[in-house]
Symmetry: C2
Subunit: 191 residues, 2 copies
Amino acid sequence: MGRRAHISDADLLTAATRISARLGPGRATVADIAREAKVPIGSVYHRVPSRAALMADVWIAAAERFGTEFLMLLAAADKLDAAVEVALLTPRFTRTNHAAGVVLLAHRRDEFLDDAPEESRTRAARLSSDLQKGLTEAARRLLPRDKRGRERLAVALIGVPYGAVRVFLPQAMPPVELDPVIAAAARAALG
Amino acid sequence: MGRRAHISDADLLTAATRISARLGPGRATVADIAREAKVPIGSVYHRVPSRAALMADVWIAAAERFGTEFLMLLAAADKLDAAVEVALLTPRFTRTNHAAGVVLLAHRRDEFLDDAPEESRTRAARLSSDLQKGLTEAARRLLPRDKRGRERLAVALIGVPYGAVRVFLPQAMPPVELDPVIAAAARAALG
DNA sequence: GCTAAATTAGAATATAAATTCTATATCCGC
DNA sequence: GCGGATATAGAATTTATATTCTAATTTAGC
């Protein structure tokens, strides 16, 4: 077999997520991440081919977790009022997964993906296109009259909660009192 | 007197604003900015003491332009419906000043200020505190019953339009059809 | 207990970009 | 038209980090 690792790959990803949430992906150095994970710098390069690949993994892991839930809820929404519930995923996810929430909401996707290897880019592109598809389909169902239905849905279910939560991130947690405000705003944005 | 400069300080700031809007402040190199401004690298250092100070200036200039208008409108708002108009400043400002809008909305304040010299930090802190003061005062006037009035106002007039516009930035322009959606959402968020 | 595999460990090297330095050009008032 | 002031110009240096390299450990199976 060989020597067993101090930490798992998941632990490294968690450390990288925490550090890049705190400092932003551009300022998260490999040394910072290694320190947070309590492994030497060299060990990091046994797990991942490059800092850029690790950063991409951080974003992809966070986006996958959020996206899966989002699309599940969205697909199940049969009425506009049910769609409004989807908008509440953003503050809820952020409370449960603060670091991943900060990665997705307080930083930019491109900061994580700019130097990413091709494979990571492909996975990230797939996530984005899945989201677009989900929105398009939901718009056809929920806003059949609206020519710009998908855009409206994106603004109401992603943009509005995103902006509301951003008022508090990255330092603070979005308070629970925010949720009804988001719901009301999203509902109004849906027309 | 001495040799006259090829470009003005304002031109340099404009170039820095454009480049950092496009690449993000972390990836905007002095060489990139010098090229955009059509001056040699060395000349940049005749104008500003450091890259960090220039980046701080970029953010401060954008925030000052936006903040002044925002606070003026907010101070003049005497009813909730007038406050809703304030929320529309964000998409309008972004259309008129795309680069400055992207600086303020698609990047993070801290990315511009992290390494800033003390003087820039102080100016930036003043801008933030002016905004807080304006919001507090407006909350007292417009939402006297609401214990979290300032927070609510921040979410409705900053967070909501910010999130809505972010759906389109940095590549696209927020379409004019977005404005009524923002107005409706902001109005709803105000309760 | 020995050996090969897998990992820790961190020093050495490479790289990219900020900053500084040295020279050169232009301008204005005299 | 001369001299100090100010800017251009870009090469040289420094600095901060990513990446690579060489050893030294630890483990499982023989």
